[in-house]
Every structure is written in structure tokens, then in C-alpha cells.
């Protein structure tokens, strides 16, 4: 992955995002496609490019926190953990009693999963086929694009 494709994240943050995305939406399970298959980290990077300076700083800070905070409790960076450890760690954020910690994680999770579930391959795998209830030539055109 060349750095030049990234709009907002640097290579380090991209790698952290990849690890988070892969944990949130791993390959296999209910359907095969996972975050790695659609490069959800890159989709996320491209999606957030119009966010304001403050939210972008916040996102980057939370990503760094997700990566380095476990060094103090689990003696490992997030991206060095195995899949099960990563999932348990993220659940800790998601179910935290501290509302602000929970909300910060939800913000990252939402943005990553929004881009993941938006990908055509994921929609196809989920059997998600949006269409209008009343069909005519005009409605057909809506979903051709």
C-alpha cells in the first residue's frame, strides 16, 4: 500500500486502522468478506477527508490510544495482539462504564463500519439489494448508478 493513496492518515495510523477494522469485521463468519478484503482502512481514510481539523485530531488521537494504551495493561500494542485479544480489548472500550471512553470508541467504530458496509462486495455478501417498491423505468435508473 503506497502512502500516496492516503488522504488523511499516515502509514502508521493506516496500519492501526487496519488492525481495528480487521477486528471489527473479520473475514469469515456469517459471510466471507472482511475488512481486509475491501481495504476498509483505506476507505475510512478517504471518507473522513472533509472532516474538520478538530474531529480529525480526535480520531487520530483515539487511534493512537487504541494502539498504545494496552502497553500499560497488557504489555503489548494493539496491532501485535492476536485476534481474540484484540476483540476482547475493543469490547472493553465498547462496554466501558466511562461514557466518554465508550463514545469515543463508537465514533471510530461507526466510521470504519460505515465504509465497510458501504462496499458493494459487502452489500452483495449480505444479500442487501435496495430497490424502490414502485418500479418503473425511472426507479430502475436509480439503482443502476
Amino acid at each position: 500500500m503506497a502512502i500516496k493513496e492516503l488522504k488523511v492518515l499516515d502509514q502508521k495510523l493506516y496500519m492501526i486502522t487496519q488492525a481495528v477494522a480487521d477486528t471489527l469485521a473479520p473475514a469469515g463468519g456469517a459471510f466471507q468478506v472482511g475488512a481486509q478484503d475491501v481495504d476498509a482502512a483505506l476507505l475510512f481514510d478517504n471518507y473522513i477527508d472533509r472532516l474538520g481539523k478538530l474531529p480529525l485530531k480526535l480520531i487520530k488521537t483515539v487511534l493512537y490510544l487504541l494502539e498504545y494504551a494496552p502497553l500499560f495493561t497488557r504489555f503489548k500494542r494493539f496491532s501485535r495482539m492476536n485476534q481474540e485479544q484484540r476483540l476482547n480489548y475493543l469490547r472493553g472500550w465498547e462496554n466501558s462504564r466511562i461514557a466518554s471512553k465508550r463514545n469515543l470508541f463508537v465514533m471510530i467504530k461507526m466510521l470504519i463500519l460505515m465504509t465497510f458496509y458501504s462496499h458493494d462486495a459487502v452489500a452483495q455478501a449480505m444479500n442487501y439489494h435496495p430497490e424502490c417498491l414502485i418500479k418503473d423505468e425511472d426507479t430502475h435508473a436509480v439503482y443502476l448508478q
Partner: protein
Amino acid sequence: MLFTYNDIGKDIVETPDVCIIGSGAGGAVMADMLSSAGMDVVVLEEGGYYTKDRYRTFKPIESLKILYRDYGSTLAFGKSPIVLPLGRAVGGTTVINSGTCFRTPAHVLEDWAETFGVVGASSRDMEPFFERVEKAINVTTISPQVLGKNGLIFKRGADALGLSNGMLKHNMINCHGCGRCAFGCPHDAKQAVHLNFIPSAIKHGARIYANAKAEKIIIESGRVSSVEGSIINEQTDNRLYRIKVSPKLLVLSAGTIYTPFILEKNNIKLSSELGKNLTIHPAARITAIYDELIEGYKGIPQGNYVDAYSNEGIVLEGIFVPPEVGLPIIGASGAAGKELAGKYNNFAAFGVMISDNNSSGKVRVGVDNAPFITYRLHPLDLKKLIKGIAVASEIFFAAGAKSVNSGVYGIKEFRSSEDIAQLFTRRLKTASFEMMAFHPLGTARMGELAGHTVVDSFGKAHTLENLFISDGSIFPTSLGVNPQLTIMAFSMRNAEYIIDNKKRFLT
């Protein structure tokens, strides 16, 4: 004429009769009315101009990025941050709202008259304005043909419990039930104001500047003398040119958040009440899983309602969003989240909206030069929300749900209606709720009590002769219903007031 940044190649200077900031429900109606009366009108709209051909190319998350402020995630901060989606386009929030239309409830108008001294706004006074607006935007009851199974299931449950419910009225012509109201209607079926009032204003000579961000309001000798701003490249957000408008009269229709923000940013202290008294109709979304195939994204997302508890300030309205918008909020992480995603075709969802007359918030200028919104949900309003969630959950089970997700932190999904009691037995805090809100109102409230209100009963600032406000910010209290019709009707009424007093205001 309508100009976007693409049409402009130099700095702009305008000296119209009237400058309107904002082209949503309030600004568009005002622009049409005043230009039809022969006034020279200029409208400044920060957002871009889009048509159905563009909407068709947007995926829902692209719409969030392009047609909304802050990707649809403007936040009101408090014990629990509340997401407050706001539109940013020619047509304002009418482009991305659900299209639901209610007249202002009579008891609300009576309360405004009694408590805030609002004059000339009784149900009888407002009747002709509602009629004219409803005709202009074609308000009609939704056809069951486009309701979709999500709405039908909820109706089935409400009927089984004997709860009063019905089909909503929308501003629409020939709706195809594509489930995309909130992302820009791909058929122009939803009659957002960029399809009616804006074209009519243009026909009457109004000049609409899209991508034009109003930044400075200059006051000289106790009057607004000019508005200065920038033409923004919508691809890069870079400032391209300056725009200066020196009107005889300024109408602020930037919405409940941005109207007080732009005034405060320019240090224009209209009243100590400016920016305060924010109400937002806090809302929660309840989801359920069924054995039957629902495909809730097919059909009109907000088609029906349950008003059995409307006298308590609780209204349930349809809500359904595509998986890329819905799943990230409700889905778990990891394989469990994907398993849930695999069941999205069996999901149903409905919204609970409450009148927040006990709660209030503020809009201030934030450190990043953007609005900083705070909001405190009163325990009495939280109780309403909890009751609404419980009622929605009961309805889902009455319609045969296998499980219901209340969206409340710390409460596992309900497997049967017995589980719902947890909502009342557990000590739930505001921070346990993931809330959204859709109808910010009240930050520049109207009335004749000068110390308690910002503008008079017709939207004129108490302390400035040539400044009017015409958007949701002037409504003194929560409406309890979707506000777009109220905003349009009051805008029409206030425009008539300006026309009737033309000599006074346009000198």
C-alpha cells in the same frame, strides 16, 4: 438566477432590498414571498446545489458527507452526546429530512401566546398560511403502497395492542418508496423547498448564491449595514472569492444552531436569551429481529406513527436506514457483528421522539470557531424517553418479534415482553442512552416580552430595526411534532408582515 462556485469568477458586490442567509424551510419561503412582492432579494447558502441526478449517484454515506453538516454527526454535548443531523445544501434540511408534515398543535400555539405574549399566531390566524404551504409543497397522506414492511409490522403490533396509530402526511408527489428520503430523494418525489419555493423565488428575480458562506454581519448606526462572506469551492473547501451584500433588510434563516452562532460570532447581542432555550426532540431508535423477511430499506422510512401517548409528549415514528448507516450503531464488534449484519433483511426499526419541554440547551461559539452545543436532558424527559422505548418494544413483540434491542447501554436485548420491565427497575442514567435528535428549536425565541425573547411575534429583532429571524430558532418551546411545516407557515406569515410594512423596513 442560481449561482454555484463554478459560475463565479470574481468578487461579488450586491445591494439588494433584502438579504436572506440560509435557503432551507424558513429562507426559501421568505425569498419567494418577498421577491413575489417585487423586492430585490439575494440569498446566501453555504451548501451546494444538487439535483436528483446527483442524489442518484450518492451512496448513503456519501450523502452524509455532502448534504449534511459534519457528516450528519453534529453533536450536542451533555451527559450523553446527542447526534443532531443538519442539512447543508440549497433547500437546507428539507433536502434530507423524512418529509413528515404536521401543523403546529393548537395547545402549543396557545402556550406561546400565554407564556411569551406571541400575538397573531392562533390556530385560526395560522390556518391560511398552513393551507398555502401545504398546497405549495403538496402535503398528502402516504399511500400504504409505499409504506414498506417495516411500517406494516409496526402497524400490526400497534393494532394488536389497540394503540392509536396512522399514516403520516408527507410533502411528496409520486413517491416510489425507495427508502432514501434522508439522502436526497432520487425522484424529486419529496417536495423539498429547492423544488418549489426556490425556483419560484428565482422566477421572481431572486439571486441565490450556493456555496456562499456568510461570515460577518456589520452593524452601523444601530442597523445591519452589510453581510460579508466567501464563495467556497465545494470540492476543496477553499475560499475562492469574497461576497459583500449591503441590504436594506437582513433575514437570518440559518437554522436554530447557526443563526445564534453567526450572531454571537459577530458579537451581536440581540438579547441575553440568544443561543439559549434550545430544544431538540431527543429520539431513540429501537430495533427488532423477526423470522419473516422484512427488507426495511424498501419503502418509505418514516411512513406511519403511533400517537397513543402524544398527550404525554411521546410520539413514535417510523425510521429505517440502510445497513451501512444502521449497522455501525447497533452492531456488535467481530464475528457477532457480522452475524447480525447477515440478518439485516429481518430487521425492523422504529423511532421514539419526545417533547423536551423540561430540558434545554445552549449554542455558543466553540474554540474551533464552530458552534459548540450543550444540552441537558431533564429527568422528567428521560422518563418519557424510557416509556417510549418500552412502548415501542411492546409493539414489536405484539407483532411477533423474536428479540428487541432497546439501544440502552447495559441492557441486553429483550427476548420477550417480560424483559422490558428492566427499563423501569434498573437505575438508568442519561449516559446510558444513545440518542439522536432531529428538530432543534428555540435559540432566538419570539414573543412580546422583550426581556425573555429575542425577536417579536413576527420575527423582527427587538433591538435592531432591520434584522428578522425566520427559522426554527424563533419557536419558544418544543412542538412535539416535526417542525418543517411550522417553519414554512411562520415564514410565510412573517414575510407578509414585512410586505405590509415595506415602507418601515425598506428605507
